[in-house]
Every structure is written in C-alpha cells, then in structure tokens.
Symmetry: C2
Subunit: 209 residues, 2 copies
DNA sequence: TTCAATTGACTGATCGATCAGTCAAGATAG
DNA sequence: CTATCTTGACTGATCGATCAGTCAATTGAA
C-alpha cells in the first residue's frame, strides 16, 4: 500500500544519480546530495555506509536497467540474417539513449565510466562485462565469424561513439554551422548505427567494398 | 645557457597535467600537486592565480601542441585524391596518440573534455573549435562535398572513437579473451582510421556498397 | 663605485569553508 | 517493548586561497 509515494531511499538514489552526473564523483558532495533528496546527510550514511558505496549503488541500479533491456533486445535477433549487425548495434545503443538510460542524468556518469578511471574498473567489470561479452559474441557471429579480438575492438569503438553522443552539448551542431537544428533522437540513433556498422565492416572485411 | 634545466614553471605544468589526468579536476589537490612539482603550494597561486586558471593553462598548452601538429599534417594532404579521408583521419588521430599528445598524462583530461562538462565548454570552444572547423571542412571535401552537418557528425563520432582508445585500460583485450596480447600502437591507429573511414562512408553515401 | 630602491620568485603559516563520516537521542511502527 | 528509521549536532581532516615576509637579482642615482 502507498506504493507510488516516493520513499526516502528512492529520492536518495535519484538525487545521487543527478548529483554525480552533474558534478562527477569528486565534485558531488554528500551534503548537497542530501539536501536535494530532502533527507539528512546522516541518512545517506545509514543506508549506504559511504560515498563510494552510494556511487556503486547508483551504477549497479542503472546498469541493471540498461543491460537487462539490452539482453532482451539482443535475444530476439536472428544473427544469421543480413542486417543482423545493425540490429545488434541498435540493441546496444537504444537502451542507453532511451528513458531507461536515465536520460541526461546518467549521461556523464556513463562517459566517466568509458574514460576508464582506475576507481571504476572493478565496478565496470562487475556491472558491464557480462553483457559486453554477450555483445562481443553477437558482433562476432553477425559478422560471419570474425575473431573475438576484432569483435571486442569493434565493441570498444562503438561505446566510444555512443559516449560522444550520449552527453550531447550541441557542439556538433555548432561545428556544422548553418542552421544548427538539433537532430531528432530516432534519426541520430540511425546515423549512429549506420556509422558503426560501416566501420565494423571496414575492419572485419577490409577487402570488400 | 643552462637551457635544459627544469624550471619551476615547467615542473608545475607537468605535475598539474599528471595530477589532473589521474584524479580529474575535482580530485586533484593543489597541495599534492605542489609536492609533486617540488614547489610550495603558494607558488602555484603566485603563477596561476587559481586552480581553474592552472587547469586552463594545462589544456591551452597541450591542445596547442596537438592542434599545431594536426594542422601541419592536414595541410599537406591532397583532398581530391582517393584515400584523402583516410589521411585526414590519421592527421586528426596521430598527434593525440603520439608523444605530442602527452601520452597517458593527457589521456583522461582529453576524455573528460569529450564528455562535455559544463565547466569546460568555453575552453573547448577556444582551444579546439578552430582546428575542428578545419577538419570538418576537410572531411566534407574528402567525401566529395558532403554537407557540413554530416561532416560535423562524422567528426564528433571520430572523437568518441579516439577517446575510447586514448585511455587504454586493457578492457578490449579482456573482452576479446584468448591470448589478450595488447595491440601495437601503429596497428591500432590503422584499425582506428579504417573504422572511421568505413563509418563515414556509410553515413555520407548510404546507397553505395 | 657604492648604496639605497625596486622588482620578481618564492615560502611557511594560516585563514574560513567544506569535506565525508560519527554518534547519541528522538521518532515511528509492529 | 523492540527494532527500524531518521535526525541534529558534531568531529578531524582537507580543501583552495591569502597573507606577510624572505631572498637574490636588477635598476638608478650619486
């Protein structure tokens, strides 16, 4: 009962995600964070013990939402069909760009994880590697049996491209000049996927085309 | 005379680049930084006035080295030749990956800049946009007159791919499994360029291939 | 040549602010 | 009552920044 009332725990996680996203781990303060969540600073420590643990909780929470969706989308793809890779890449990107991805909130945290800070290595290993392995497999198969080494390479590049887009700041529009009309999300995703697929083919089958 | 003796100013800039790179802006402390440079903390403020100004000095310094090299390499490319785009992309990537790029030192700072923090927007605009414009132009021409909007898109994706590689942490090797032998720098650059060129063509000329 | 005046580089001590984290006590519910 | 939840008050450490002042080198006037 009273299910949809926002609990203190929900508010804390939500505020933490926003705060970490906007200021980064070191830039975010427990005090500002508690104010944002309308709880006392002590309550944060009661539930999460430490700032690091809270940070990990945020990432575990969000990465589970994203990766569950990714796997769900991946599993319904027939990897033997022609445009399988295109579907795989969209299954990788869409959950991170959509509402499940936490919108702007999670964007910078994600970009930080990509950057590969020493602090986050173990966490990335725990939260993202299992799903990543599945996608490396899928990429390998979708490309007709490319080596896992090359598939992992493509996966890494793909995440880089995703990161460059996920925290959109209008720079591409500025550099593009002219009218500078921001791109629709669905169109951007399509561009993104096409770029990655094109690049993947160029690496995996350098002789064709 | 006595030209190659390390001055205090040099040591400070160098230590700052390392410290900011390893800990990020908020994670780095002026005290640790001064210890690293073997100067007093006060000297940092004497020369750079504030932490933010020091950070900006580091980026202005490094970006100038990188972008001067980029332009130099870009200007000797014949944009009408067949594999012009490949050369352009290498001109964009090589200076950032080589010794001028500051090696690991500048890597994470660069990744942070890509992430697009609000704090760095104006600085990126000042230090990177002029060169970026030149490359967007070159990409547009090398692709036979693609619109600047699409060229800017490709430029943005390219930087994302670069960022994913510049702070190498061995994750790709781990995901690739098997022997996990780290890739040679020159080979990686070639892979990188081929991926981007393939992706660029896929976006700019969706009908071909 | 000599000596005061000025400058630039640099330091140790210290400032108030803010940090993450602690703790005992109050509130609330089963 | 008991156990969980929540709070305000507090701590030591550390933050970026400021300060007065030292020291060596340079300048300028006599």
């Amino acid at each position: 009962m009273d299910e949809n009332r926002s609990t203190a725990l929900d508010r804390m996680l939500q505020a933490a995600e926003l705060e970490f996203s906007e200021k980064g781990f070191n830039g975010a303060s427990m005090k500002a964070l508690s104010t944002r969540a309308n709880v006392s600073q002590s309550l944060l420590h009661y539930h999460f013990a430490s700032k690091v643990k809270l940070y990990e909780a945020v990432i575990r929470n969000r990465s589970r939402l994203i990766n569950d969706d990714r796997i769900e989308r991946l599993e319904i793809i027939d990897l033997s069909q022609d445009n399988a890779l295109h579907a795989v890449i969209k299954a990788l990107f869409l959950p991170a760009l959509g509402p499940l991805g936490g919108g702007r909130a999670y964007a910078r945290i994600f970009a930080d994880l990509i950057a590969g800070h020493e602090r986050d290595k173990a966490l990335v290993h725990e939260c993202y590697d299992p799903t990543a392995q599945r996608f490396v497999d899928a990429i390998s198969k979708a490309l007709g049996g490319t080596s896992r080494t090359v598939a992992a390479q493509i996966y890494q590049f793909s995440l880089g491209v995703l990161a460059s887009v996920i925290s959109r700041d209008g720079r591409a529009e500025r550099l593009g000049g002219e009218h500078a009309v921001p791109m629709e999300d669905s169109v951007l995703l399509e561009q993104l996927a096409r770029f990655v697929v094109g690049g993947a083919h160029a690496i995996a089958r350098p002789n064709t085309c």
